[in-house]
């Protein structure tokens, strides 16, 4: 695909970037250094500013404040075509009156690329994406997955410094989405191009990204590798957003170093126990992921000062596992248990918490308390 060292460095650096629409601020003080060849995912609920940020990098939205650097160039005022980027949209955005070949060749033709080179590049890209047999077809004759492949192909042939992808898989059905996910991953390894990928789906973010930026209300909440986000979320929002089913949060009070609430008494350990000391006598959020809660008698989690009692409200069998929703002193908590454990709604159960996986968050600021 690449002939020689075309794109030396393709890092993207955003410094203090703002986006304002009149008085509303869509993106606030966005600072990020995206490394060369990195697969960076922006994730967050809708309206969090992730797409806006991507569109600012693309040049489709003006940057209100701050600087954007792609490679060695400051790109704030460059038109999109001079930024050496390619973008893939959620709704494919193919040119409906052109066939697949022309769709892919369009950008190259505009750049006055020689005809034989265009042909070579289009056929190579089509080969990578396995759409050679579709080159003569119009977009309306293609399925959703095929269209998205063509959209990817259109981006690949340009050999840009950076790929920008705006929820490219959201229009596909679940099975195809999983398939395309791994294909984009493969593509990234093969091309070695920097990719910035926007999604609202945390599973996509976790499986694809080398690093993930979690956004909310225009602010970066946290930027880290998938596992670090999972293990060390900086605040309650990130903790709840990453992981499925999402983390359980219960309000508890700290008494003699123990987390107390009706139906539960859990003793934190290690660094978390130290972090909780200033909160003695106060309330905090306790966070525990469903996969770190087990049914007493059916789990490997050692039993100690880590028991919760409650009534089962809902049982959701998923085959390999069963999600049970338990009311612990009126607070609902989800536990992921083995699929063959027999529990019924209405049963009183004892739950065991994995103390090493406990999280705690300040009640007001919702920031995480330090844990190791």
């Amino acid at each position: 695909m690449r002939d020689g060292a075309v794109n030396t460095m393709s890092e993207v650096i955003l410094k203090g970037v703002y986006k304002r629409y009149g008085k509303t601020v869509a993106v606030t003080d966005f600072n990020l250094h995206i490394e060369d060849k990195e697969f960076m995912v922006f994730v967050g609920p809708s309206g969090c500013g992730k797409s806006t940020t991507l569109r600012m990098i693309a040049g489709l939205e003006e940057i209100s404040d701050g600087t954007l650097q792609i490679g060695e160039k400051i790109c704030n005022d460059l038109p999109p075509k001079d930024r050496d980027i390619a973008m893939v949209f959620q709704n494919y955005a193919l040119y409906p009156h052109m066939n697949v070949y022309e769709n892919m060749a369009f950008g190259l033709r505009l750049r006055k690329t020689p005809k034989d080179l265009i042909d070579k590049k289009v056929r190579e890209a089509a080969g990578i994406l396995q759409i050679e047999h579709l080159l003569g077809r119009k977009p309306k004759e293609l399925s959703g997955g095929q269209r998205q492949r063509v959209a990817l192909g259109r981006a690949i042939v340009r050999e840009p410094k950076v790929f920008l992808m705006d929820e490219p898989l959201s229009n596909l059905d679940a099975k195809l989405r999983v398939e395309m996910r791994s294909q984009i991953g493969k593509l990234h390894r093969r091309l070695g191009t920097t990719i910035i990928y926007v999604t609202h789906d945390q599973v996509e973010a976790m499986t694809m990204g080398t690093r993930i930026v979690v956004m909310k209300d225009g602010f970066i909440q946290q930027c880290d590798t998938p596992l670090n986000l999972y293990d060390f979320p900086k605040n309650k929002f990130v903790a709840g957003f990453i992981g499925s089913p999402s983390m359980n949060f219960l309000t508890v009070s700290v008494q003699n170093g123990m987390l107390n609430a009706q139906g539960l008494k859990v003793s934190p350990e290690g660094t978390l126990a130290q972090s909780l000391r200033p909160y003695e006598g106060k309330q905090v959020w306790m966070g525990i992921r469903p996969e770190h809660v087990g049914l007493k008698g059916f789990t490997n989690i050692p039993v100690g000062e880590n028991i919760m009692e409650g009534e089962v409200e809902v049982v959701e069998p998923l085959g390999a596992q069963t999600d049970i929703l338990v009311s612990v002193g009126g607070q609902i908590l989800t536990a992921k248990v083995d699929g063959h454990v027999m529990v019924n709604a209405g049963d009183m159960v004892q739950l065991v918490v994995d103390r090493s996986k406990l999280h705690a968050f300040d009640l007001q600021s919702e920031n995480a308390l330090g844990r190791s």
């Binding site: 980027i85 973008m87 009156h97």
Partner: protein, 296 residues
């Protein structure tokens, strides 16, 4: 137990019943449609029948009694032998075709700018143009005619090209802007990233994907200009060298006094070209009208 054969027979019966019911229930609809269509068709039919009747017969009895009377081709012969017919037909083409092209060209570029380009005063300018839709043509005639006279173009083709294009533009811009703004934003953005300038986007993406809207607008404008008598009479005048078909046909009456039977034949002759245009672009016409609301 019912045997399989009976079940099959019952299924067939049910199927036939459903079919019969479908046919029966669609009959009222078809009757209504037929009635409306024939009501609509009666004036044209009357005109057609009259055009084949001798003047005396037209004067003495209604066209619906024609079956008992005699038919003649005399009216058509008289009109076709009229000296100015060929010239008038040519004039009509010379008025209509350039006007239609000019309208489409200017309106599509303007509508694209209104729909997709950002510039100061864009919305205000668009509202003003939409506002022009309610200005009666009659109000503009004196000032425009004065202006044409001072420019010295009254009675020439450029005068009527300008007039018709001007009158047609507000609606054309309004219609095309509505259509263009329905185009997929990401498609145009994608082209922008691909390196296309606004002109390239307009020529290679917007126009090709808007053929249906352009065609239906083209038909509108063509028919409107072709059938126009008033504007042609005012800006072109009745000179045979420039007068279009409509003006010539209306003159037939004056020249022949009582000979208005010729009108019927002439009217049918003048319909030939618009009908050809309509039928050749018909498939776009239907699609174009729906284009704004239901996107395929």
């Amino acid at each position: 137990m019912t045997s399989p054969r009976i079940i099959v027979r019952q299924a067939e019966k049910a199927k036939n019943n459903a079919k019969t019911r479908a046919v029966l229930s669609s009959i009222p609809l078809h009757v209504v449609l037929l009635v409306i269509a024939s009501l609509w068709f009666i004036p044209a039919l009357g005109l057609l029948v009259s055009s084949f009747r001798p003047p005396d017969a037209i004067a003495n009895s209604g066209w619906w009694t024609a079956l008992s009377g005699s038919f003649t081709l005399e009216n058509y012969q008289n009109v076709l032998q009229h000296n100015d017919l060929g010239q008038a037909f040519l004039n009509s083409v010379l008025v209509t075709v350039p006007t239609t092209i000019m309208t489409l060209l200017i309106a599509s570029i303007t509508a694209f700018a209104f729909a997709w380009m950002k510039f100061a005063g864009r919305d205000l300018m668009f509202y003003i143009i939409v506002g022009l839709l309610v200005v009666p043509i009659q109000m503009t005639m004196v000032p425009v005619l004065k202006m044409f006279t001072s420019l010295g173009i009254t009675g020439t083709f450029p005068a009527i090209w300008l007039a018709h294009t001007g009158y047609g533009l507000p609606f054309a811009i309004y219609l095309l802007r509505a259509f263009f703004s329905e185009l997929l934003k990401e498609m145009l953005e994608s082209a922008e990233i691909d390196g296309a300038s606004p002109l390239v986007i307009f020529l290679r993406l917007v126009l090709p994907t808007s053929v249906s809207a352009l065609a239906s607008l083209g038909i509108f404008q063509f028919l409107w200009v072709w059938n126009d008598l008033l504007i042609a009479l005012i800006y072109l005048g009745g000179q045979p060298s420039v007068a279009p078909l409509t003006v010539m046909v209306s003159n037939l009456v004056n020249q022949y006094g009582q000979g208005w039977q010729l009108l019927t034949a002439a009217a049918f002759l003048s319909m030939i070209l618009p009908l050809m245009v309509f039928f050749s672009l018909q498939r776009y016409f239907v699609r174009g009208i729906l284009a704004g609301s239901v996107k395929g």
